[in-house]
C-alpha cells in the first residue's frame, strides 16, 4: 500500500542535496502542491532532473526563482529567463541533455540498467567526454543512467496501492520519473479504493509509488 501524506510531509523527505526528479512538461502534469511545499520550507541545494524549467511562476520554475536549485539535468530552459540568468551568473550548474536521452537515462536507473547507447548527439557537443561505441557500423554515445533519490510526480487518479492513471498530455515524464525514485511521491487529483481503477488503464503500477499526496488544486475532472 502507498502511504497517504500531506504535501508538507512530502517536502520534509527532501533534504538539501537531494537528487530530485520532477514530472511534468512545461508545468502540465507538474506536482505543484509538493513544489509549493518545498518552496515554503526553503529546501535548498537541490539537484533537479526535469524535462524543462517551466515558467517563473509555474512548475519547477518556482524552485529556481526561490534559489533552491544548485544544479540541474534538463533539456530545455527557453521558457524561463531566471534559470538562464542564474546559469550565466554561475549560480546554477546546468547539464543540457537531449530530451529523449534524458528520459532513457532516468528510465535506465529505474530499470536497473547502467546506461544506454543512443545515436542522439553524435557529432555534437553532447558527445564530448563520453565513450563512443560502434555497433554494426553505427556510432552510439554511451550515456550513463541518472540516479534519482526522490521522484515527485503528478497523476490524475491513484488507488490506495499507488497505481496511477494520467490524463491526456499530463502523463509525459511522470511514469518515467516515478520508476527511478528511490522514494517516489505522487500528487494526485483523486484517490480511490483498491479495485476501482481499471487495471488496463494503469500507466504507472503502484510498485513504483511509495507515497500519495492529495492535490489541493484540482484543475480537471
Amino acid at each position: 500500500m502507498a502511504q497517504m501524506i500531506s504535501a508538507a510531509d512530502a517536502a520534509a523527505m527532501i533534504k538539501p542535496g537531494t537528487r530530485l526528479a520532477i514530472g511534468g512538461f512545461l508545468a502540465v502534469g507538474a506536482p505543484e502542491g509538493i513544489i509549493d511545499a518545498i518552496v515554503e520550507r526553503k529546501i535548498a541545494d537541490l539537484h533537479m532532473i526535469v524535462i524543462a524549467s517551466d515558467w517563473e511562476n509555474r512548475g519547477v520554475g518556482k524552485l529556481v526563482v526561490a534559489n533552491l536549485i544548485k544544479s540541474a539535468q534538463v533539456s530545455h530552459l527557453g521558457t524561463n529567463k531566471e534559470i538562464q540568468a542564474q546559469m550565466n551568473a554561475g549560480k546554477i550548474d546546468i547539464e543540457l541533455v537531449p530530451q529523449g536521452t534524458l528520459m532513457e537515462r532516468v528510465r535506465a536507473a529505474g530499470a536497473g540498467l547502467g546506461g544506454i547507447l543512443t545515436p542522439t548527439g553524435v557529432g555534437t557537443v553532447v558527445e564530448e567526454g563520453k565513450q563512443i561505441i560502434n555497433l554494426n557500423g553505427k556510432d552510439y554515445i554511451l550515456e550513463h543512467a541518472i540516479e534519482v533519490d526522490v521522484a515527485i510526480v503528478k497523476a490524475w487518479k491513484a488507488d490506495k496501492m499507488g497505481n496511477l492513471i494520467f490524463r491526456k498530455t499530463a502523463r509525459n515524464s511522470n511514469p518515467i520519473m516515478a520508476m527511478a525514485g528511490k522514494i517516489t511521491i505522487a500528487e494526485v487529483d483523486e484517490i480511490v479504493e483498491v479495485g476501482e481503477l481499471d487495471p488496463e488503464m494503469i500507466a504507472c503500477p503502484g510498485v513504483f509509488v511509495n507515497y500519495l499526496v492529495k492535490s489541493t488544486e484540482v484543475a480537471n475532472g
Binding site: 512545461l26 530545455h76 557529432g123 555534437t124 498530455t169 515524464s173 480537471n220
Partner: protein
C-alpha cells in the same frame, strides 16, 4: 500569401498520405493549414501524443492538452497518449516519417544548428537532437537570411550542431534546396525570385540544374 504562409504551403506538399509527422514550434506549424485534400497526416507532439488536432475554440481549452510549445491543442479521432520515453522511442526509432524544424544555420553537408548561440542564447536542445537524429526525413523550414540579411545556408555551420549530416530538404521564402551526396541542389525558387538572387543570398555552393521549378504561385 505572405512569406510564412508560402513556406507553410510548400512544406505541406512534402507529406504523403499516411505519414506520421512532427512539426517544430513556430514556422513549421504553418504547414497544418495547407495539407492537400486527400492526404491524411498524423501529427505527433513529442510531449506524448499522436493525432494532434487543431487549436481549441476559445473557452474550451483543456489545461492537460498542450503541444510541445505549450499551446493548447485538441485530439482527433484515433489519437493516443503516451509517456515521454515512448514518445522519443517513436522518434529515435525511425517511426516518424518527417520532421520539420527551424534553423539558425544549415550547411552543405546537411548539418543543422538550431539550439544555441554561445554566450547569447542557450535555450537547450529540448527534443530537437532526437528528432533530427531519428526522423526519416528532416526538413528545415526558415527564412532564407537572418534578420540582418546574412545568409543562413552556409558552407559550414559555426554554431554548435544539433545533428551532423541529417538534413534532407531546406524550404525558405526564396528557395527549395535538396541536400544530396554531391551537395546542395537548387530545386525550386519562389515565385518572383530569380536564381541569381538565391545564389547571392546563399553562402553555400548551390548546384543549379538546367530546370529549376517555381513554388508559391
Amino acid at each position: 500569401m505572405d512569406k510564412r504562409q508560402m513556406i507553410g504551403c510548400r512544406i505541406a506538399r512534402e507529406f504523403k498520405d499516411g505519414d506520421y509527422v512532427n512539426l517544430g514550434i513556430g514556422l513549421p506549424t504553418m504547414a497544418v493549414d495547407y495539407i492537400p485534400e486527400g492526404i491524411h497526416v498524423v501529427f505527433q507532439s513529442e510531449n506524448g501524443m499522436l493525432g494532434v488536432g487543431p487549436s481549441p475554440a476559445e473557452g474550451t481549452e483543456d489545461p492537460d492538452m498542450i503541444n510541445a510549445g505549450g499551446g493548447f491543442i485538441t485530439a482527433l479521432k484515433g489519437a493516443s497518449f503516451f509517456d515521454s520515453a515512448l514518445s522519443f522511442a517513436i522518434i529515435r526509432g525511425g517511426h516518424i516519417d518527417a520532421t520539420v524544424l527551424g534553423a539558425l544555420q544549415v550547411d552543405q553537408q546537411g548539418n543543422l544548428a538550431n539550439w544555441m548561440i554561445p554566450g547569447k542564447m542557450v535555450p537547450g536542445m529540448g527534443g530537437a537532437m532526437d528528432l533530427v537524429t531519428g526522423a526519416r526525413k528532416v526538413i528545415v523550414a526558415m527564412e532564407h537570411c537572418d534578420k540582418h540579411g546574412n545568409p543562413k545556408i552556409l558552407k559550414e555551420c559555426n554554431l554548435p550542431l544539433t545533428a551532423k549530416g541529417k538534413v534532407s530538404l531546406i524550404i525558405t521564402d526564396m528557395a527549395v534546396i535538396e541536400v544530396t551526396v554531391s551537395g546542395l541542389v537548387l530545386c525550386e525558387v519562389a515565385a518572383g525570385t530569380s536564381v541569381e538572387e538565391v545564389l547571392k543570398a546563399t553562402e553555400a555552393e548551390l548546384i543549379v540544374p538546367e530546370q529549376v521549378g517555381t513554388f508559391g504561385m
